[in-house]
Amino acid sequence: MRDDALQITRDDRQMLVVLRGSWSRETSHLDPATLLADIGSLSTLKIDASEVDDWDSTLVQAAIALRARANAQDLELLEDWPPGVSKLLVLADAVPGARPEDQQGGNSRATLWSRLDPRVASRAVGSEVANLAEFVGALVLSGLGLVTGSGRGRFRDFLYFCYQTGPNALPIISLTSFLVGLILGYLGAVQLKQFGAEIYVADLVTVGVLREMGPLMTAIILAGRTGAAYAAQLGTMRVNEEVDAIEILGVSPMEFLVLPRVAAIIVMTPLLTLFANVLGILGGGLVSSGLGVTPLQYWSEVQVALYPSHLVVGLVKAVLFGALVGIAGCRAGLNSGRNSEGVGKATTEAVVVAMVYLIIADALVNITCQLLDI
């Protein structure tokens, strides 16, 4: 910084500030607050920056702050800035169009606190339930339309989504369900071994997989795989205005886009669950064989535990879970924002909402079964 970069001369009425040399981020900084800290009886502030030969935006920012301060303190301001700074000051002053706060409505982003308010939260839950009911209602009506022959779903789409949802998911379902059976087996083995009752690992795994882990793990995999894919597909169609084009053609997106997808996942989830059940029981078998139980003993004990009611409860859950994952995915996709961020959010929402639905539905089915003694 040059010695004469900032030169201030003042008398009772007037202050003259002369700037020279370089005024930028790295060199000198003009601070209006310090400059005008004690104005006394000053009435005029004169800035002479005509000899500044190097500057950047910090000088423009300081000039704007100086103007605001001089204005607030009722000072007459006489300025002589380098030509570039003057032009930028004119630009900064001219605001074409309305500023955001001048517009009606404005930005109504909810704060964390307002969202924690019980009234706000209960309204949010209420509207979520209402939206879900509306979506399911529209979906059921579309399904009925298809049954009565007035609908326009495409069977080819249904088959395509069945293929995407079912056979393509077999490798990942195999891996997870086998390992879940194995984990269940180990959990049981640790306890049952203490009583010499290793053989009952077969019962634990069979009942656990059939009633609970088979359908739940299948649905969780489908939520991450298929539900997210549905949301991304429909969200992208929303961004590309394909959904609008379909509406303009007079077709309901519900019939044309949602119905084949949800129907496919409802059909495929129980089938995948059956497959997962078999793999889960095999996983338990592997653990049992490590405990000295022969495959034949394991299999005969599995048959003892394999009540039809366990299988039916599991398959009913699978149908319900499949529907919920499909609905969560399609609803998130159709309600997606019209940009790439919206598609990302829709995909996240599809998975998170599906998980919440799954856990709630699973709990409700289990409580119902308990009450009905199934």
Binding site: P96, G97, A98, Q103, Q104, G105, G106, S108, R152, D157, T236, M237, N240, E241, E242, D244, A245, I246, E247, I248, L249, G250, V251
Partner: protein, 254 residues
């Protein structure tokens, strides 16, 4: 000719944020009517409201003297049979080939046989210079071709009204000009009324017979008339400036 489309006191809003207010204008049958204005002024929103894809906060849109805004969904669907719409990106359904995309309106609204549909698809594709592309997916052709294919889908049912949302956005000047010419020729030969959202001056002067200018600042309709007339005679400097590429006063003679 009479008014084919009448827009009365239309106010467009997203929630409480007003985009445009009190829009009143008419589109005569056979017009090529352009909705123009700066970026973000609500041109596409106006079109989406006229199409019923969004619902206006207030006001009414009538087609051929019948209210669309207050019609039942079944009636709206019937009225839409008379429309062909192309969106900014073309909006062809990406999971379907061009032939399947074009076949969709025919399957929905006619009882034509598969053979008759194929013949008609072939004709419409040849009209837009895409004959032979029946089995291509939208992702396999260029942006300009997608727009032409979307135009072909829009004219499948020989509609009375054709709507375009920024048809030449993202196209090079030559493709853009060819698309304009194609739209003008098709509209004229089919006797369709065209409503187009655009801020491409070349398109506006090439084919528009009537226009309205939506203002960003006052959030309403500032002027209406033939664009060539508005270019020199609009009362509003901003409209003259827009139509003269931002050098209004010089071009308008001061």
């Amino acid at each position: 000719m009479g008014a084919a489309i009448e827009v009365t006191d239309l106010t467009l809003a997203y929630g409480e944020r007003v985009i445009q207010r009190d829009l009143t204008f008419t589109v005569a049958a056979g017009d090529v009517f352009v909705i123009m204005g700066g970026s973000g002024c609500g041109k596409s929103t106006l079109l989406r409201n006229m199409l019923g894809l969004e619902h206006p906060a207030r006001g009414e849109v009538q087609y051929d003297g019948h209210s669309y805004t207050s019609a039942s969904p079944a009636r709206q669907r019937q009225m839409r049979m008379n429309w062909g719409v192309t969106f900014q990106q073309g909006a062809l359904i990406s999971a379907m080939t061009l032939a399947e995309n074009l076949s969709l309106p025919l399957e929905l609204y006619t009882s034509m046989s598969a053979g008759e549909r194929a013949d008609l698809i072939s004709l419409k594709l040849s009209l837009v210079g895409l004959e032979g592309y029946q089995n291509y997916f939208p992702s396999e052709i260029s942006g300009g071709m997608r727009k032409r294919a979307a135009l072909a889908r829009a004219i499948m049912l020989d509609p009375e009204f054709l709507f375009f949302d920024e048809p030449s956005a993202g196209l090079d000047p030559i493709s853009s000009r060819r698309l304009d010419d194609l739209i003008a020729t098709l509209a004229e030969s089919m006797g369709a009324t065209v409503v187009m959202v655009t801020h491409e001056l070349d398109s506006i002067f090439a084919i528009a017979t009537q226009s309205i200018y939506l203002d960003n600042e006052s959030r309403t309709l500032l002027d209406q008339g033939p664009p060539l007339h508005l270019k020199t005679h609009s009362e509003h400097a901003v409209v003259r400036e827009f139509l003269n590429r931002g050098v209004a006063e010089a071009a308008a003679g001061g």
